[in-house]
Symmetry: C2
Subunit: 143 residues, 2 copies
DNA sequence: ATATCTGCAAATAATTTGCAGCACA
DNA sequence: TGTGCTGCAAATTATTTGCAGATAT
């Protein structure tokens, strides 16, 4: 809200730690997991710092934020090649998929709508190979 | 959590009202707005009922849930034709875009990964026609 | 030297849930 | 006649924020 945009940014040890963690990770992490891992390297780091750093990295275009089926965010380093996430509505597993359609879609949007795309999120929800046939009303698949 | 999946569903007046509202709406609505509109038709309806109905409709595949840049969900009737949402990071406006790539992508996923797609969400964040050139670090565009 | 960042604790706000009564089938 | 649904109030939980002290540049 009242938070003015700073004119200079600092590369603090916390930010280095967090960016390192998120970059060395294949795929995505949530705030709590990042916090746990960061604590092993910097015991006094706080959860707010994790959230603030994620917000900061996002503004810089270094990471992407995803909200899957759950109620909290996941973060991942911005990949070289765009990919889709396939989210299984039964087992909750999330896998990735790359397709040339993604890039075509982006170009279409840029040309036809004159919309400058900064990041893309493509989520396909459904039933994975192993979970097919069991899909109806499996509302509560936890525990 | 412990909520067992019911064997029979009931078409209550609340559910009729809510499904009616969401279907007559072009585009998406959030829980509060749905609640306001529903109250005009059924003054004693509660916000929990709205949330519970959305969860129910989602399980039935009648609606889609979207989390845009904000911290709360939006709901919309499942459309006949898939579309993408373009979200402007500066003005916050959300527009829609249809493309044949969407359907191709879906078919690819179904064939190559044997993943049964139930719903798709494609969000492109970036800068719209009017907001281009003003994009850098416009962190706080509210008020 | 000073603007920016951090940790801590407290606040915020969306969504979920327990429960007791109501109502559809 | 009983399972499923609702309203209400209270709980939960992710995320944000205020502030005072620390730190990068």
């Amino acid at each position: 809200m009242g938070m003015a945009t700073p004119r200079n940014y600092r590369l603090t040890s916390q930010r280095q730690t967090l960016l390192g963690l998120i970059r060395q990770q294949e795929g995505h992490l949530d705030a709590i997991e990042l916090y746990r891992r960061a604590q092993e390297l910097q015991p006094r780091i706080s959860l707010s710092t994790v959230y603030r750093a994620m917000h900061f990295f996002k503004q810089l275009g270094l990471i992407e934020e995803h909200r899957f089926e759950q109620d909290h965010l996941h973060y991942e380093a911005k990949p070289k090649v765009e990919h889709c996430h396939l989210i299984c509505l039964r087992c909750g597993r999330i896998s990735e998929f790359q397709s040339p359609q993604t890039d075509k879609l982006k170009k279409e949007v840029e040309h036809e709508k004159n919309f400058k795309v900064a990041s893309i999120q493509i989520h396909l929800q459904g039933y994975c190979d192993q979970c097919q046939g069991k899909q109806f009303f499996e509302v509560d698949n936890r525990e």
